[in-house]
Amino acid sequence: MNYIEKQNAIIEDFSLFDDWMEKYELIIDLGKEIEMIPSQDKRDEQLIEGCQSRVWLKSNYKDGKMFYFADSDAIITKGIISLLIKVMNGEEPKTIAKEDLFFIKEIGLQEHLSPTRANGLVEMVKRMKLDAIKHY
């Protein structure tokens, strides 16, 4: 699946639920499966401080593609990170830097990515893109 198809697949998954709590149950389940950064690797340079929750992000560039590892102390934040990673992992830096992440809004999670939310996610997406730009 390409960048757009991956996002459409997530939108479809979420469209099965009408109820907010069910959507969040899915996000929480995703948060439990995320590939975490080992605690010895959780260094300050990977920490993104948010007012509400903290996020750690590690980026790898391999064979022309980007791979991300991340973690958060809040499980909902972790679930949203896991969605971002699903979409962005294995993509070329150019795609990540230039293409729109439209699924966030479509599934109704844009509030988590608003600058006022201060949960570290906005900064994380920015840093994911900046890390991609370094290799583009």
Binding site: W20, M21, Y24, E25, I28, C51, Q52, S53, R54, D73, A74, I75, I76, T77, N119
Partner: protein, 411 residues
């Protein structure tokens, strides 16, 4: 919502005066338990603001035309009303500010100018960042020393430590009346009395007490008292700094501009009398007037019965929360207002707050602008519920059900 409280106030009548409470949030009835952050506004305050812009708007002081005079009268009547509600000695001791933070910064800047290197200011470990940072800035500007009174595990202030910190170098003690993150009521009468014995002045941060406690400034005998309008059913962007006139008179102006001057020339500028000396520029006119109306609203209530009602809500919610085995409440003093800060096991407060929001319950999560308290308890933050006069036990039942559902999903 069913009113099952024992206090003799008609909660449904009060609720009907707050239009926002009929809102739906995420498809559910709004349960607003974030009152320590800001209170909702009664219709009488909302109407006042609307009416002012529709019929009374003009710039105040100095205008010769009728509208300006009417607006000036309304603004100054609001000041008188607030002064009399708080039992200040004189209306001129009531300075309109932008809010609590603005009031504290005014004192730090202006009263701070009277301090000398080596002078000491005492605050407590439970202060809001607004009552920490202005003093840290003053510390680096004027080479004064900032001393911090520790708190006990219960969240109560360590009065023995406080007394040990007090000395002849202490020039100001700046303490919150009620902790915004724990809800604990500080023994300010004792703090004020002991501070005065060494000649220190006392600033009380009333941001969390003005809506819950009856304040009598002359009886309290503090030197400064600050609060925000929006926490006491008034609009945002307006607040009050009370100061004893003998102090305000010797303090230099905070900001320069219109209204605060008596005469301006390039050779010598002289300043206006109190309170105008500290009110540079066009003030938040409608804010001041509507804050006066907010105190009219309070006057229309049976304040003592409202206090009983809030205390009942506190006890009822505490009992319900304590029945959930993984819950830990922070701030366990008996002397508390209707604020509960808690965590659930290892679950992050942000996760609980997000799921409660999706069920229509508005709470606050995080460090509540009191990071030192969170460091003290070694936690990232708490979930804080705070009740007001319009909340009900029925709402607490719904909140606890929503909380249990959130815990179940997150565990």
């Amino acid at each position: 919502m069913k009113d099952t409280t024992q206090s003799r106030i008609a909660v449904q009548d009060i609720r009907s005066q707050f239009p926002i409470l009929t809102q739906k949030v995420n498809g559910r009835d709004l349960i607003y338990f974030d009152n320590a952050a800001t209170s909702q506004k009664p219709l009488i305050v909302i109407d006042k603001i609307k009416n002012y812009y529709e019929k009374e708007n003009a710039n105040i002081h100095r205008g010769v035309h009728s509208l300006s005079q009417e607006a000036t009268t309304a603004y100054e009547q609001a000041r008188q009303k607030i002064s009399s509600y708080l039992n200040a000695k004189s209306d001129s001791e009531i300075i309109f500010t932008k809010g609590t933070t603005d009031g504290i910064n005014l004192i730090a800047s202006s009263f701070g100018e009277l301090l000398s290197p080596g002078d000491e200011i005492i605050i407590s470990a439970m202060e809001h960042h607004s009552n920490i940072v202005p003093w840290q800035l003053l510390e680096s500007r004027k080479k004064i020393k900032l001393k911090v009174v520790p708190i006990h595990k219960s969240g109560e202030i360590d009065l023995n430590a406080f007394e040990k910190l007090l000395n002849e170098k202490t020039k100001l003690v700046s303490i919150t009346h009620i902790s915004n993150s724990l809800g604990i009521i500080n023994p300010i009468n004792e703090i004020i009395r002991k501070s005065h014995l060494v000649g220190a002045k006392v600033l009380i941060d009333g941001a969390q007490s003005i809506q819950h406690e009856k304040i009598d400034l002359q009886e309290l005998n503090c030197d400064f008292f600050v609060f925000s309008g929006h926490k006491v059913y008034g609009p945002t962007g307006v607040g009050v700094l009370y100061g004893k006139s003998e102090l305000l008179n010797i303090m230099p102006p905070y900001q320069g501009g219109g209204d605060m001057i008596e005469k301006v020339s390039f050779e010598k500028t002289t300043f206006n009398v109190l309170p105008f000396k500290f009110e540079a520029g066009t003030p938040n006119i409608v804010g001041g007037i509507a804050l006066g109306t907010a105190f009219d609203f309070i006057d229309s209530l049976n304040f003592e019965q409202c206090q009983v009602h809030e205390l009942e809500l506190l006890r009822y919610a505490e009992a319900q929360l304590n029945a959930i085995p993984t819950i830990k409440i922070f701030g366990t003093s008996k002397n508390k207002t209707s604020v509960i800060s808690f965590n659930v096991g290892d679950i992050h407060p942000f996760d609980i707050g997000t799921l409660l929001d999706k069920q229509g319950v508005a709470v606050r999560t995080g460090h509540h602008c009191t990071q030192p308290i969170m460091d003290f308890y070694q936690i990232p933050g708490t979930i804080r519920v705070s009740f007001s006069i319009y909340n009900t036990k029925g709402e607490i039942d719904l909140f606890v059900a929503a909380l249990n559902k959130s815990i179940q999903i997150l565990s």
